[in-house]
């Protein structure tokens, strides 16, 4: 009795409540009413990171947090282990001054990985995040060759116990997703930035590069920032200060 009365209500809840993202509606078994789903990416946004390498010390908090968040675990094989973010040590041979900075996928506006991908698996989302669609990735690794930042990794071995929000599997290429699962549920920070503020030196800012009032844009307007290999004209979404 209670089930009979609650079922239509729940159906309505389902259709109206979740209709915003519904891509297809079942009209009859096997027949779908396809409707273009409204894009979930925020309008006119370009997500980016600003990293102040003067503040970045020799801690590893961002790397640990990223790999913890996304279930990236090494197999004690440094040459083939996946690496979504890594610390790069810079040393000026003349003065001996050295500092380090984290390098991850730079989320280019014109990503070379997308250009070379034969299946369209490498793509750039409307909000500027460069991702691998693992449903179509064939593991050819052209993108790894094309990326000037060495940001991508190939998964060589069968994996188990992945994080639910970060599917990863043998035979596909992967890289930093700018914590796309967090962004899609409305959070405005990434695991690395969060860890940098909590355990590190607060050297990283996440934000919308297109919004002039965001913290990242204000910092960039005030103190400037550069891209790694800016000469390539890829316009990365990750900017650095002090390099």
């Amino acid at each position: 009795m209670s089930q009979k009365t609650s079922a239509p209500l729940s159906r309505r809840q389902f259709i109206t409540g979740a209709a915003a993202a519904v891509a297809s509606v079942t009209v009859a078994p096997g027949v779908f009413l396809m409707r273009p789903a409204e894009a979930g990416t925020a309008e006119g946004v370009r997500w980016g990171l600003l990293i102040d390498s003067n503040r970045c010390g020799d801690c590893n908090a961002c790397v640990t947090a990223c790999h913890e968040e996304n279930g990236v675990r090494g197999m004690d094989r440094p040459r083939t282990d996946a690496q979504w973010i890594r610390k790069v040590e810079l040393r000026d041979p003349e003065t001996g001054y050295s500092h380090s900075l984290p390098v991850m996928c730079q989320h280019c506006e014109h990503p070379p990985c997308e250009d070379v991908c034969p299946t369209g698996a490498s793509f750039r989302r409307a909000d500027g995040i460069v991702l691998v669609n693992k449903h179509t990735c064939i593991g050819c690794r052209y993108c790894m060759m094309a990326c000037p930042y060495k940001a991508r990794s190939f998964i060589h071995e069968t994996l188990t116990d992945q994080a639910a929000h970060a599917p990863r599997g043998k035979g596909t290429v992967e890289s930093c997703t700018l914590c796309v699962h967090r962004i899609d549920r409305g959070e405005r920070t990434t695991a690395c930035v969060e860890a940098c503020h909590e355990q590190g030196n607060g050297a990283m800012i996440f934000g919308d590069l297109n919004d002039p009032d965001s913290a990242i844009s204000r910092e960039l307007a005030e103190h400037g920032g550069t891209a790694i290999r800016a000469d390539l004209g890829l316009n990365p979404g990750v900017r650095y200060q002090g390099i």
Partner: protein, 167 residues
């Protein structure tokens, strides 16, 4: 000297040989047990039972590109949502008898590779579908007495109502 075959003998032999597989099939007929449907948390699935049983693959397949490429995530048809509700925490897809998806896929000789990448166990996920608040159903039962989907769609103005006769 070759021994001649009697036609009657040959015929009876073929009869017996032919009858054996038939007997075997008759003995097996109808005795194949489907895998037990494992219990889910919550009290209702996101779609009527016949729809979800037949078309869950299509729903997941159609909407995955929207989710990955356009970030149009539908929490009611989320892969993670299915797993959260249906799969036991200690289940493994490599042990089909413990795993909701794998048990049925194995029975039907369907081989899909979702779990080569996707987590095969529930997680503390935020992508919960709107019908089930993820409490274990106290008096859990599949709602088989669902109404027509088209009628429901018309009810919420997603399908045009039947045309009124023109004057």
């Amino acid at each position: 000297m070759l021994r001649g075959k009697s036609p009657a003998r040959a015929a009876s032999r073929w009869l017996v040989l032919g009858a054996l597989p038939l007997l075997f099939l008759t003995a097996c007929g109808g005795s194949v047990e489907p895998p037990p449907m494992m219990e889910a948390r919550g009290d209702q699935c996101v779609e009527p039972l016949d729809v979800i049983r037949k078309d869950h693959g299509k729903l997941l397949m159609h909407e995955r590109d929207d989710a990955v490429i356009r970030a149009a995530r539908n929490p009611d048809h989320s892969f993670v949502g299915c797993i959260d509700c249906h799969v036991a925490t200690e289940a493994r897809h490599t042990e089909p008898e413990t795993h909701f998806c794998a048990s049925c896929h194995t029975f039907n000789a369907v081989r899909v590779d979702c779990f080569q990448c996707h987590r095969d166990r529930p997680s503390e996920s935020e992508y919960l579908h709107t019908l089930n608040p993820h409490a274990p159903g106290v008096d859990f039962a599949w709602d088989t007495d669902h109404r027509g989907v088209a009628a429901n769609l018309a009810e919420v103005d997603l399908l045009p109502p039947p045309e009124a006769p023109k004057p």
